[in-house]
């Protein structure tokens, strides 16, 4: 009985953890090598509600944005933030493991 209860609790906790997982997005933006640009994009994405982390990957020319549980970054929000920073959004995708799964190139 105790084993079954433990198993049930474990499954429940796993499910809650999965539901509480942060949402991650990958934005394709060219010209990120210069911090005067990269920091400009970061600054604007930081204003989006729920953003907890932004990682700039110069090699792949992408910005990885993490939002807290329940928060989302729409393609329009991403496009607007990148545009305000002086760039064009090349691609938008929800990272593997995030909820949803929309891709736009």
């Amino acid at each position: 009985m105790f084993t079954r209860l433990s198993l049930l609790l474990a499954v429940l906790m796993f499910s809650i953890a999965a539901l509480a997982a942060d949402n991650q997005y990958v934005l394709g933006v060219d010209g990120l090598a210069c911090p005067f640009c990269a920091f400009g994009i970061e600054k604007r994405l930081n204003k989006v509600d729920g953003v907890t982390d932004i990682e700039i990957d110069i090699g792949d020319s992408v910005v990885r944005v993490t939002l807290q549980e329940g928060k989302t970054l729409t393609e329009e929000q991403a496009r607007q933030a990148v545009k305000e920073a002086g760039f064009t959004l090349r691609s938008y995708a929800e990272a593997e493991g995030g909820s949803g799964g929309r891709d736009s190139q």
């Binding site: 090598a33 210069c34 911090p35 005067f36 920091f39 400009g40 970061e42 600054k43 930081n46 110069i58 090699g59 002086g86």
Partner: protein, 314 residues
């Protein structure tokens, strides 16, 4: 037949003129060129410990110390000139520190995220933040005039703004474009020997020079300083920092070309030097010049400080 020969003659002359313009604009015709500098010393690596950097974006010096803006670690690190770590500060207030300036016993740090100029003592004590009365928008660089007023490269506002120490706007040079006095993400300002100033006009790939009263004097960088980038002498691929030597010469960080270029006060090319970046990033992003002409640079991709001296000089 005679007509054809005439046209061929005109074409040859036109081609010759075009080649001459390109050669001139490329810096090949230049009587003032100097030998290059050599790397005399360097230190630093990626990380968040002492003498480690995570995106170094600014550098300033005194007679015996080197101050480095360690942007993603939200701090300023201080070293002696042999590279020994002395202290770090600013962690509680800094967002993204950029091209700094030292005047008297104060360090001025433009904050790209917080839209202010932070003022510290050289020991690292925080004094205050200067905000422009009409607001800054990602200031990338600052220079301090002899009277204590500030010239700020207000990068995302596409302007250079002259501020009192209290943040009142005395004058503003505005405008996006490639014309004289227009800007395209200006990144830094340096005071000229005559009391005027130079602007690293970042994405216009050029330098603009203004006189003591703020009047436009000249621009240079590629053909006619008209936002044409390239790797040739006197051309830029994003100018990210600017400094003036004791003799009035002008040094410019030419970021995407991984080099620093040196010019006369009037913009004639003298020499170029730098560390070629390994990997996807680029190197020479910020610089400062000692009284003896030693150049200190922040290598962005290499996360290190570099010291440069004219080749052959001990």
């Amino acid at each position: 037949m005679l007509k054809l020969g005439k046209w061929l003659g005109y074409s040859a002359v036109a081609i010759l003129i075009l080649v001459a313009i390109l050669v001139w604009a490329g810096g090949a015709v230049n009587w003032n060129q100097e030998p290059p500098y050599e790397l005399a010393q360097h230190w630093g690596e990626k990380g968040n410990g002492p003498a480690q950097f995570n995106d170094s974006t600014g550098i300033a010096i005194t007679a015996d110390a080197v101050f480095v803006a360690d942007a993603r670690n939200n701090r300023i690190q201080v070293f002696d000139k042999q590279g020994t770590f002395k202290r770090a500060f600013g962690n509680k207030v800094l967002g993204r520190p950029m091209n700094m300036a030292i005047a008297g016993d104060r360090l001025y740090v433009p904050d790209y995220f917080k839209d202010v100029i932070h003022v510290f003592t050289l020991d690292g004590e925080y004094r205050r933040a200067i905000a422009a009365e009409d607001g800054l928008n990602s200031p990338g660089g600052v220079a301090i005039r002899a009277n204590g007023t500030l010239l700020v490269a207000d990068t995302y506002a596409q302007r250079v703004v002259h501020l009192t120490p209290d943040g009142n706007v005395l004058k503003s040079w505005n405008g996006t474009g490639i014309g004289a006095g227009d800007f395209n993400y200006p990144t830094d300002v340096a005071i000229a020997a005559d009391g005027g100033f130079y602007v690293a006009d970042g994405y216009n790939d050029r330098v603009q020079q203004f006189g003591p009263a703020g009047e436009f004097i000249r621009k240079w960088g590629g053909p006619f300083g008209a936002n044409i980038f390239g790797p040739f002498k006197g051309w830029f691929a994003t100018a990210t920092s600017i400094a003036v030597g004791a003799d009035g010469t002008v040094y410019v960080a030419d970021f995407y070309n991984d080099r620093i270029q040196k010019f006369t006060a009037e913009g004639s090319f003298l020499t170029a030097f730098g560390t070629l970046a390994q990997g996807p990033g680029h190197s020479e992003i910020a610089l400062a010049v000692d009284a003896d002409g030693t150049v200190w640079s922040a290598n962005f991709a290499g996360n290190r400080v570099e010291m440069w001296r004219p080749a052959g000089k001990p």
